[in-house]
Symmetry: C2
Subunit: 367 residues, 2 copies
DNA sequence: CTGTTAGCGCTTTCAC
DNA sequence: GTGAAAGCGCTAACAG
């Protein structure tokens, strides 16, 4: 043989120019069959003589051939890709959800794209446009937002646009934008978790409980606050006395600063803290330790999200666990099988949360 | 107007079937120009009459048109995508590097794909094949490996394959597979960090230092151990006395179990621990606390990686900081601009590490 | 079982 | 400035 037959030149280092990647035509030429046969032999979904298949596979190996996913997507209009949008990959909350998305995507033979929005709704929309260009199989939007009419319209529009392109919008950890929209919603018992947490503290005799952290207007904070309020109300306590609800930030620093200021300014007028998340709790614990306030002897703390850090604080933090990984997995599973009767009816689910008991909560001291 | 002109039917909810996404032809028809003109108007790189451009843009908006990235990639053979392979997205180490990759990818108008290898070299190769199908602009492989001749051959092959496809292999936090390969390598001062850490402990008077953690054969552990050994040797101490180097795992649990067993079995024959990472350090600290050993009063601990958790341990952990984000950013930057004379010569760089001093190291007590 | 051929949606010469 | 037409690499009828 040799590559001087003129018809098709397989890539070779010798023919002068930069070697290019092999195409299906190179494989066909080398195997002595037509491109259609190569396509069939490779798809596996079509009867091909064993001998032919073997020759094709041989040629594929010799040439290090791989199909061009773009050409394939162009024909089939499926890209075998899932996209997930979150504000920040480095955050444990989001990266654990992404982990779940990846697991399921991988199980469904899909690749995953990850995009960071930095919490900017406009950037979110811009990214969805880019992903629409990619005709991804699903776009998963993760994390709380500020729930306004504009938000709902924005989501409704994106949902329809993606639907038209054969893709699916998934809202994960944020509310549904309305009825009868082509959208998959995967939530978790956010308010319920806060309700359970506050109830747990009250079961331990606590009556003076602080709600600490959360930016404020976003749905995540609103829902947790809602659960907190409901729990207190169910025992005839009011959450809305002054100084009880301390929102305004969601960082470790915010937890630290806020509790520190509180301790300097006033007497210790609370016996427990329900923190917006474990990081805020960590900050609060540091402030309490520095002020010589014993945790959990004098003040109990309950975190939210049950992150890695909860185990390593001193004392280990009791926290509300949310099903990060399962959220991601469900998002992908429901979106991809939305036609499947088994899940078609459950395109809006809410996963449960539970309290992981460690060492940061104790019976309230008698005041 | 109306859609009965027969030539081209713009997508519309009224024409019976499922509405499909608009294509460049729909836009052309609506704007009353040719597809070539639409393409030019949208690319912006070609003279088009202002009036025409406006009409095209109008049509684009009316139809919610976005280009099909696959069709574009098919012509141009560029996909505007960067891929990163890591063992686990949920790990803070990897997710912080991914964060850097995302930052730079985003700055360079690229999307990012993230794939999890679960530390399996075969899966890694399989994923690179999948990514080759996608003709991604670069494939970033992150994290230590077991450095064998097979590894080097594997990487050499992937590097050539990707190069042929116009893509670029980037090795991040792992060694170069050899000279004269089309590959970008971005490392960090791994051994140097351990050297500095051990030296810092010895400066504080410590002589009996444990190296705790690391799986063993992987390059990350080997490099850190190497730095540890070199530092001790530079002060005429030997790292290889029995019981000094405790590898075999890299989890919090491993740190806890190993130190606990050590304390039960023997007297406290060390004054400092250099931990493989912050998680191992956290485990060790818990074991020490439970045994009533004061940290840092009796035993000093130094971590590695400077993760979030380091701040929240009690005492806060002194740790070796590695430039996670910058590793990811550099990986993308160097790969994309490899032709650019400014960086063409620096396709193998090593970023520095430094010690972040907190509260877990103190002068050694006189024995 | 296998080959031929017509696109998928776009960019890019080459004409006008 | 703009249009016509030739592919990019692949899949999916449609013939044999």
């Amino acid at each position: 043989m040799g590559n001087r037959d003129g018809a098709v030149t397989p890539p070779s280092a010798e023919d002068g120019g930069t070697p290019r990647a092999a195409t299906i035509r190179d494989v066909a030429a080398r195997a002595g069959v037509s491109v259609a046969t190569v396509s069939r032999a490779l798809s596996g979904q079509y009867p091909v003589a064993n001998a032919t298949r073997a020759r094709v596979q041989r040629a594929v190996r010799d040439l290090d051939y791989v199909v061009n996913a773009h050409a394939r997507a162009l024909t089939g209009s499926k890209s075998k890709t899932i996209a997930v949008l979150l504000s920040d990959i480095a955050s444990p909350f989001y990266s654990r959800i992404a982990h779940g998305v990846e697991q399921q995507a991988s199980a469904e033979k899909r690749l995953m794209m990850v995009c960071a929005t930095h919490g900017d709704p406009e950037r979110e929309v811009g990214l969805v446009e880019m992903l629409r260009e990619q005709s991804v199989d699903a776009v998963v939007l993760v994390g709380g937002i500020v729930d306004t009419p504009e938000y709902r319209e924005r989501m409704a529009r994106l949902a329809r646009l993606l639907d038209t392109a054969g893709s699916r919008l998934v809202l994960c950890g944020r509310p549904s934008p309305g009825e009868d929209l082509p959208v998959t919603v995967v939530e978790y018992e956010n308010s319920g978790g806060a309700f359970a947490a506050a109830s747990y503290l009250m079961d331990k005799g606590h009556r003076d409980i602080l709600f600490l952290g959360g930016v404020g207007p976003d749905t995540t904070t609103q829902d947790r606050l809602d659960g907190f309020r409901r729990a207190l109300a169910s025992r005839d306590l009011s959450a809305d006395e002054p100084g009880r609800i301390l929102t305004g930030g969601n960082s470790r620093q915010f937890g630290y600063d806020t509790i520190r200021a509180r301790l300097l300014r006033e007497e210790l007028d609370f016996t427990a803290i329900l923190a917006w998340d474990d990081l805020v709790a960590a900050g609060a614990m540091t402030a309490l330790r520095e002020a010589g306030v014993d945790v959990p002897g004098r003040v109990s703390i309950l975190g939210y999200n049950d992150e890695q850090i909860a185990q390593d604080l001193v004392p280990p933090l009791t926290s509300v666990s949310i099903p990060h990984t399962e959220l991601g997995r469900s998002a992908v599973r429901l979106a991809l099988h939305r036609e499947d009767p088994a899940v078609a009816s459950s395109q809006h689910i809410t996963l449960g949360t539970h309290i992981v008991v460690r060492g940061s909560v104790r019976e309230a001291a008698r005041r």
